[in-house]
């Protein structure tokens, strides 16, 4: 028990679910409040702005569908990251893994000679493999050489971003694109179809939800999932139990990176139909997915919903830009604030805070 001013903190060993949920909601709400001054700085009333955004997005199916479209890469990356985080592997590299998937998909779309019916399935397959490969590198570096996973995954993002830049400016630059840094447009057989009246490439959306369910099953019901949980919660016990770290962490990062790779396939095959500058393809989905996974508390199914929430923030950013004339970057401010408060409010999960009773308070005054 600790005292801080009039408050008493008592440790809470395993927080009940409603506390975890309540604290998470609280973090989002407080982040929305904390973002209000940014609107004021642009001369907008924040409450009116929030209301306008709400009306704009929930007002019609096409505008609401943008939430889904934005959520697709976040679901895939977020689910992969929950898996990595459960193994205590700090994969900050979903961004690079997503781009790796986009590159592989582009390669298959533009340069591989295959029957047209196989083209999309192969794009997904190779996108998964490319993301998996990009994720496997830091896993092996950590297991074999003890390289810090945060640093290596983060740095590989930049490596992949520059590879994409080089491809679109260099060897893959589209001859028909008149000097733009794009590849050629994908053939029709390499494009994903939309839900009517939207830009929701539903195949990827379904894939994301199915993957979330599969990963949840993997974690809860399989031997590998059990080993992942043991490795994540107590590496010493895992070593003691003879669990092979190389195998477990490699598989975790193959899946985690692979899922991010699938997200990359969805973006190029569903939205852009070409490879282009990395900032256009990803819009920091890989980084935002870190917050998605964190908010989901490592639960892959919950990641679907937290991804939708952040899809909403992205859609709100679009709306602010087009309708309210505010910069899209406010979304980034939001996301940062949410992660900040989430981590800060963990305190409330593991400590029960209450006001000190009068009597007790006096004793403590004498004491502290």
């Amino acid at each position: 028990m600790r005292r801080l001013g009039p408050f008493v903190f008592e440790p809470r060993l395993s927080p009940p679910r409603y506390i975890v949920f309540g604290v998470s909601v609280l973090a989002v709400v407080v982040a929305l409040l904390a973002a209000a001054p940014v609107f004021l700085g642009y001369g907008q009333n924040p409450w009116q702005a929030y209301a306008a955004i709400g009306r704009g997005i929930f007002g019609s199916w096409p505008s609401f569908s943008e939430v889904l479209r934005r959520a697709i890469p976040l679901i895939l990356c977020g689910v992969g990251l929950t898996l990595a985080f459960r193994a205590q592997f700090w994969n900050i590299g979903a961004e690079g893994q997503l781009l790796a998937g986009a590159v592989a998909a582009t390669g298959v779309a533009l340069f591989l000679r295959v029957p047209e019916g196989l083209r999309l399935p192969l794009m997904f397959l190779f996108g998964f493999l490319a993301g998996a490969f990009w994720g496997l590198i830091p896993a092996l570096l950590r297991v074999k050489l003890g390289v810090n996973d945060v640093i290596s995954t983060l740095m590989l993002n930049y490596v992949m971003a520059y590879i994409v830049e080089w491809l679109v400016h260099g060897p893959w630059k589209g001859p028909t694109m008149r000097g733009f840094a794009y590849t050629d447009a994908f053939p029709l057989a390499a494009r994903l179809s939309f839900l009517p009246a939207t830009r929701v490439h539903w195949v990827t959306l379904v894939l994301g939800v199915v993957m979330a369910v599969l990963i949840a099953l993997l974690l809860a019901r399989t031997r590998l999932g059990y080993e992942i949980r043991v490795v994540g919660q107590n590496p010493d016990a895992a070593r003691y139990a003879g669990i092979n770290f190389t195998v477990v962490l490699s598989l975790v990062m193959i899946l985690s990176g692979g899922l991010a790779g699938l997200a990359g396939v969805g973006e190029v095959a569903g939205i852009h139909w070409r490879l282009r500058s990395p900032s256009h393809i990803s819009m920091n989905y890989g980084y935002t997915a870190i917050i998605v996974a964190w908010l989901a508390r490592g639960n892959p199914l919950a990641a679907i919903f937290t991804a939708l929430l952040f899809g909403l923030f992205f859609a709100a950013g679009d709306y602010m830009k087009t309708t309210l004339g505010l910069p899209f970057q406010i979304t980034g401010v939001f996301n940062g604030l949410i992660l900040f408060f989430l981590i800060g409010f963990d305190l409330l999960m593991f400590w029960r805070v209450r006001l000190a009773r009068k009597e007790g308070a006096w004793i403590s005054q004498a004491g502290s």
């Binding site: 395993s14 031997r223 016990a237 070593r239």
Partner: protein, 519 residues
């Protein structure tokens, strides 16, 4: 300072140095101290006896200002005081030697003592302190060289540094928390000499322990605590082991565990000329050899840090064998993984049960299958079979008396004794051929200790080869059929327990004696 001893006033007439009255302290879910009364007079060694978790350390932490009591009063030399921090306690003349020493290893003794000491000069405080230290050392017979670096010192010497730290700060009352747990019998004797010397000088000493023999030897008065309450205070002359034990546990304790005669069969575990390095790359084991037969307990005695940890880890496949061989049931297992060795039928009860033995966040039932989760019946084609797991958990919980609200409770919510029962239930299921038990009862209460010792004996009787590594000599004497003493990575000798004496083992533990190792 040292003059002709004057006629001492009888201390009994003075107010007690420390008087704790009606101290109550609760933690969430536990009443750690329940209206406890305790006093120490000048020139007295007052032992505080009780099982782990009886509330001894809580009470002393209150006296030392680390906790604040919920209610109750503290009087020092008859004056009511508030002790808000260890700083207050030190000013009031209270010193504490913790079970785990709080020393800066790369620094010298004098530097350690000077750290945080009031009234030392800004530059080179250790110089002034060194002089004072020499005085105190001779006065109390606490021999330590002030210039030596702490990491070079033995545990006994480090403890002397801690006592000197307290004395130089003017401690009149010295609290010693389990002071003998890290000492050899010889070092313990030395410590007792120092304590008697301090007593003559009029200090009051609080001696926390759960070892009956020691308490009877050194204390003037003994206060026994159980479950947060004082059971009683008696004079040491009037106390005996059986009474104290009954007060501690609240029932009769059988001291001699029934031990059947040993029939050493084939050697289930054989170690030949084993060389292993420590984490720092130094030799931790230097060519040790021994064998453990089926139906036998081989006790490994030694002071902590003489290679026991490395030995256990090497046997369990967690540490590389540099030279030599380990044979389990006749098969060489050098270089095999921990899982392969476990699958051969080697149970490993690890030293640090919470750090290594369990996954705190996972439920009890999932902790019970660790190491066996990859094999039938718990796993089928990569999927876990929760029906089988639940069934097994229910049986294990019942058979080993694990107290848990449900099989789905996270293991971290269990008490130390129940965590150890969980580990034993897991490790001993499926009839292991070899059981490696590292400090299996360390820190457990008497009830759990007794149960776990019985379980180990039963394993032996059922034909397992048991290697028991423990710092508790009495435990080894009671359980082992043969005793191997390890010192600085070498085996000083292996003697049959029936013929061993505490003194002989103690000398071997200190590296003073070596006997010929039999096959």
């Amino acid at each position: 300072m040292l003059g002709v001893p004057k006629e001492r006033p009888t201390h009994a007439e003075q107010p007690p140095l420390v008087l704790l009255r009606d101290i109550t302290k609760s933690f969430p879910g536990v009443l750690a101290n329940d209206h406890v009364n305790f006093e120490v007079r000048p020139g007295e060694i007052h032992a505080l006896l009780g099982e782990n978790g009886a509330g001894k350390t809580t009470l002393m932490n209150i006296l030392y200002g680390l906790y604040r009591p919920d209610s109750g009063e503290i009087y020092i030399r008859g004056e009511k005081v508030q002790i808000r921090s260890p700083r207050d306690a030190i000013q009031l003349g209270i010193g504490m030697v913790h079970q785990h020493f709080k020393l800066v290893l790369p620094h010298t003794v004098a530097e350690n003592v000077a750290l945080g000491l009031n009234g030392t000069p800004f530059w080179a405080p250790a110089k002034v302190v060194a002089q004072k230290l020499r005085e105190l050392s001779t006065r109390y017979g606490l021999h330590v060289d002030p210039e030596r670096r702490v990491w070079e010192l033995s545990a006994g010497e480090q403890q002397r540094v801690e006592i000197l730290k307290a004395l130089i700060r003017g401690a009149e009352v010295l609290i010693l928390d389990e002071p003998t747990s890290v000492l050899t019998p010889q070092e313990t004797a030395e410590l007792f000499k120092v304590l008697r010397r301090m007593k003559e000088e009029g200090h009051g000493i609080i001696f926390i322990s759960h070892k009956l023999d020691e308490v009877l030897e050194i204390a003037d008065r003994i206060t026994v605590m159980r479950r947060g309450k004082v059971v009683g205070t008696l004079l040491a002359q009037e106390a005996d082991k059986a009474t104290l034990a009954r007060m501690m546990v609240g029932r009769e304790v059988v001291f001699r565990l029934s031990k059947t005669t040993c029939n050493p069969g084939e050697a289930a575990l054989r170690v030949e000329d084993l060389y292993v390095r420590s984490d720092r790359g130094l030799w931790a084991l230097k060519g040790i050899s021994f064998a453990v037969c089926r139906g036998e307990i081989l006790g490994v005695a030694g002071i902590a840090g003489n290679g026991q940890r490395e030995l256990v880890e090497a046997l369990a496949g967690l540490r590389r064998v540099e030279r030599g061989r380990i044979l389990i049931l006749g098969k060489e297992v050098n270089g095999r993984s921990a899982r392969a060795i476990s699958d051969l039928g080697v149970a490993h009860i690890p030293e640090e049960r919470i750090r290594m033995g369990i996954v705190p966040g996972l439920p009890v039932e999932e902790n019970l299958i660790l190491k066996k989760h990859h094999r039938p019946p718990f796993c089928w084609r990569g999927f876990l079979r929760f029906l089988a797991i639940r069934e097994f958990a229910k049986r294990a919980i019942e058979e080993y008396g694990i107290i848990t609200p449900s099989p789905k409770t996270p293991a971290k919510l269990l008490s130390g004794g129940n965590i150890q029962r969980l580990i034993l239930a897991r490790e001993l299921s499926g009839r292991p051929a070899v059981v490696i038990a590292a400090h299996p009862t360390y820190g457990l209460d008497v009830g759990a200790t007794e149960q776990i010792r019985q379980i180990l004996l039963r394993q032996r009787d059922e034909g397992a080869a048991v290697l028991l590594v423990s710092e508790d000599l009495e435990e080894i004497m009671e359980l082992a059929d043969r005793i191997a003493v390890i010192f600085r990575g070498e085996i000083m000798g292996i003697v049959p327990a029936a013929e061993a004496t505490l003194e002989e083992i103690g000398l071997m533990m200190a590296g003073e004696k070596r006997v010929k190792v039999e096959g």
